[in-house]
């Protein structure tokens, strides 16, 4: 074997590994938006009433976004400490655990949640809400694993490819990540036509396990170079046992979905075996723990900013809890007029602000902060982050309002609504992804301001046209409105990323890129919580006034018509809000320090 073939073999190996790690990146991003189209299916399946459960059901989306954000911020640094292969493997195990908790949420996890609530609160908790909380918990665990995959994959690129050859692989990882969340809603809407929603999460398990096994072997040379070490024998025993059992369960569930009937009853009994579920949960948790234990690193490297991670997590959770909560109580007391926020909202928001202040204080004094706050001193970095936060907010308005409109106004067949929602959300996200390319080209020619401002104006126009939706609107018209909004949002991606990357030192570009992504995710979580709260509040007040006008003898058909009218109006208002937010973001875009012509476009989404 000649030495000339060694670099070629190494290069080929690097691309093979990259292809492998991109698959879970895609799946993790897919799961970010997969519930957008199918959340109504989940809510109906769990029997969650809209009056008392809609705000909590929103955490199925918010919980994933929050945990994903925190994981993106943290796990890249974790991989510096304990090794890429080990961190990636842990992330995959966590994703498997989360996927199992989500897929089986209505069985053993719901029973555990019920026992926990009985212990804490007593009484007899509603099994529907116990299943919902188990589902949310599973989504959070999923996201902790999924969020790690993007930064670790990008860090792996640095290990696998020489400096001059990293741009394309990095772009590929970013593109795969984008493709995942762009197609998630469409995938979800299509899949529920043929299988129940849990099957979509069961499928994650064998695919992720296969990738975990293969990448562990393929990354062995990289791990050896960095003295990562392997797992102990007991560790491997626990990992293998846990993965075998969970995959057997997953494959059985997927198989029984293809052959329902008698298998369905057996499947339900199998999933309800609490001793099996408990053993499996403990095995997977132990597997994660064993995977995390490795040889002590002999090199002095950056420490993990645990305090910073904890404070920013608490701040984000507090912000979403404070903005997204509604009044509790019986259906008759829920969402009473008067207070816009529940009693606990103000203290929680104050606490969130305190945690944010604490985060800033910690980061300024940390030797290895999560984010270098010095970056925000640059005008373009601050503005770009603020714009991307607003872009995320607007994106979420679309992702939340479209399924609501379809399920309430367009059709009352849940499965059909999921497919229509998936297609229409694809009309929003796919143009957004495609428009990043001309956005990059425009940035090259005109700098940052023009494409950003233009994109926001176009997006605002798209949302503005969407605020005129009626029950008679055609799906084509809806798709065109959403497509326009998506194109506009997509045009902003490249100039915003480029503005940030060009404003910081080369050693900070990775962290800066992550920061831009994180700000969009934060905007999406705020959009989810705030718009859910707004929608519920406005719906209640509008409904009460319209129903009062009808009088006490209103027929059910008249009341149903009121519901349609109210949802239509509330969706229109949400779209108008998104249009106004885009307009506000245009002002920020105009304030961007102009970029030099000829600068390279950013890494894309």
């Amino acid at each position: 074997m000649t030495t000339r073939s060694e670099p070629q073999r190494a290069a080929r190996q690097a691309w093979v590994i990259l292809a492998l790690v991109c698959l879970p990146v895609f799946i993790g991003a897919l799961d970010l938006t997969i519930v957008s189209a199918v959340l109504p299916n989940v809510i109906v399946d769990l029997e969650i009433p809209f009056q008392t459960g809609a705000d909590e059901a929103a955490w199925v989306v918010s919980g994933y976004l929050l945990a994903y954000t925190v994981s993106v911020a943290l796990m890249g640094r974790v991989s510096d400490l304990i090794g890429r292969r080990r961190t990636y493997f842990i992330a995959l195990l966590i994703f498997v655990l989360g996927s199992w908790l989500v897929a089986g949420a209505t069985h053993a996890p719901a029973v555990w949640m019920s026992r926990l609530f009985r212990l804490i609160e007593g009484g007899r908790p509603d099994p529907s809400f116990m299943a919902l909380y188990a589902l949310i918990g599973g989504r959070v665990v999923q996201a902790l694993g999924a969020g790690a995959m993007v930064p670790v994959s990008m860090a792996l690129v640095g290990d696998l490819f020489p400096p001059g050859e990293r741009a394309i692989p990095l772009g590929l990882v970013a593109t795969v990540d984008t493709a995942g969340w762009v197609l998630g809603a469409l995938y979800g809407g299509a899949m529920v036509q043929i299988v129940e929603w849990p099957v979509m999460f069961w499928i994650n398990i064998p695919v992720t396990t296969l990738v975990a096994v293969i990448t562990w072997r393929q990354l062995a040379p990289t791990a050896e170079r960095h003295a990562e070490g392997g797992l102990s024998r007991p560790g491997w025993g626990v990992v293998i046992a846990g993965l075998v059992v969970v995959n057997a369960l997953a494959l059985f569930e997927i198989g029984s979905a293809a052959a329902p009937g008698a298998l369905a009853a057996f499947s339900s009994r199998l999933l309800s075996l609490r001793w099996l579920a408990l053993g499996l949960a403990l095995a997977l948790l132990a597997a994660v723990s064993f995977a995390a234990i490795g040889p002590k690193r002999t090199q002095r490297g950056p420490r993990l900013d645990v305090a910073g991670a904890a404070l920013i997590t608490l701040a984000l959770v507090g912000l979403n809890v404070g903005l997204g909560g509604t009044q509790e109580g019986s259906p008759g007391q829920a969402l009473q007029g008067g207070l816009a926020l529940p009693p606990y909202a103000i203290p929680v928001l104050i606490g969130a602000a305190a945690c944010l202040g604490g985060f800033v204080w910690v980061e300024r004094r940390s030797a290895s902060p999560l984010f270098s706050l010095e970056q925000f001193r640059d005008r373009n970095v601050s503005l770009a982050c603020a714009i991307n936060l607003l872009v995320g907010f607007c994106l979420m308005v679309g992702l939340v309002s479209v399924p609501l409109f379809i399920n309430t106004v367009v059709t009352n067949v849940v499965e059909e609504a999921a497919l229509i929602s998936g297609l229409l959300l694809g009309a929003l996200t796919i143009p957004m992804a495609l428009a990043s390319v001309p956005g990059g080209m425009l940035t090259r020619r005109s700098g940052y301001r023009v494409p950003t401002a233009l994109g926001l104006l176009i997006a605002g126009a798209g949302f503005f046209t969407a605020q005129g939706w009626t029950p008679e609107i055609t799906r084509t018209a809806m798709a065109l409105n959403l497509g326009l909004a998506g194109i506009g949002l997509g045009l902003t991606v490249a100039p915003i990323s480029t503005a940030v990357i060009n404003a910081v030192r080369s050693a900070e570009r990775g962290a800066a890129s992550a920061l831009v992504l994180i700000m969009r995710l934060v905007g999406m979580t705020i959009g989810t919580s705030l718009m859910t709260n707004y929608g519920l509040q406005r719906s209640t007040r509008l409904t009460e006034s319209l129903v009062a006008a009808l009088g006490e003898n209103a027929s059910f058909a008249e009341l149903a018509a009121v519901g349609t009218q109210v949802v239509t109006q509330v969706i229109n208002e949400m779209m108008l809000i998104a249009a106004l937010v885009c307009a506000a973001a245009v002002i920020l875009a105009i304030l961007l320090r102009p970029g030099d012509r000829g600068e390279q476009a950013g890494q894309g989404l």
């Binding site: 109504p40 299916n41 809510i43 109906v44 029997e47 969650i48 009433p49 809209f50 009056q51 008392t52 007899r124 509603d126 529907s128 019986s330 259906p331 008759g332 829920a334 969402l335 399920n407 309430t408 059709t411 009352n412 067949v413 849940v414 609504a417 719906s539 209640t540 409904t543 009460e544 129903v547 006490e552 209103a554 059910f556 058909a557 009341l559 149903a560 009121v562 519901g563």
Partner: protein, 225 residues
């Protein structure tokens, strides 16, 4: 000597029979005791779950009932929170039965209690109806009762009985219309108080009704219409 042996044998057989017979408890006696205990109930909370064919409330609007939880206060006040589904929307309605009739509200569409005529497909108040309710079903409707054993049900020691019944006669046991045909009934009766803890009715078409009773004798809040 033979007489002594015979006497010992008879006495031993009687003792053995008494032991095997669960301390002398027969299924019929258990049902009668339970019926009386349920007649004497002053307050109780309950939960109804149904799996299988949808419980249609209003076919023109596609309205179906999913499940219900509620409370009962003697002599005739029943309150329920009923989950209903219309298309892809799940809502929670409050229904109230009093001596003056049935009332419901569905916030925010119907924020105050108003009179309603409920369909026969779902009417939890039947469970506590003197004529068709639990005591009647336990003593007059169930046939072939069998003691399946003794079980601990979520910390409560119970007798598990099984029985058969004509489905159309069981609305007073589960609060809804049970399909025609022979249904299988499983009952769990509190060993001490003889009050019902759980009822599972398996209809002829395989659908199931599960009714849980709990918090006997505890104060309940029943709104006024």
């Amino acid at each position: 000597m033979r007489r002594v042996m015979l006497a010992v044998g008879v006495i031993s057989a009687l003792i053995l029979l008494a032991a095997c017979g669960g301390g002398g408890v027969t299924p019929e006696q258990l049902l009668a005791d339970s019926a009386q205990a349920m007649k004497d109930v002053q307050t109780v909370q309950w939960a109804i779950e149904h799996e299988g064919e949808p419980i249609v409330l209003d076919p023109t609007q596609g309205l179906t009932a999913l499940s219900a939880t509620g409370s009962y206060q003697a002599p005739s006040s029943v309150y329920a929170m009923v989950k209903v589904q219309a298309g892809s929307i799940v809502a929670q309605a409050e229904v109230l039965w009093t001596a003056d009739g049935a009332f419901f509200k569905l916030p925010p569409l119907r924020p105050n209690f108003g009179p309603i005529e409920l369909p026969g497909t779902f009417n939890p108040a039947d469970i506590f109806n003197e004529e068709v309710g639990i005591p009647h079903v336990l003593t007059e409707v169930l046939t072939s009762p069998t003691l399946a054993g003794e079980e601990d049900l979520e910390g409560t020691a119970t007798y598990h009985l099984t029985a058969q019944a004509a489905g159309e006669d069981l609305s007073g046991l589960v609060g809804g219309a049970v399909a025609e045909g022979t249904a299988t009934v499983d009952l769990w009766i509190n060993k001490d108080s003889k009050e019902l803890v759980r009822v599972i009715v398996t209809e002829a078409d395989g659908s199931t009704w599960t009714v849980d009773f709990f918090s006997y004798g505890e104060p309940v809040e029943i709104p006024t219409p």
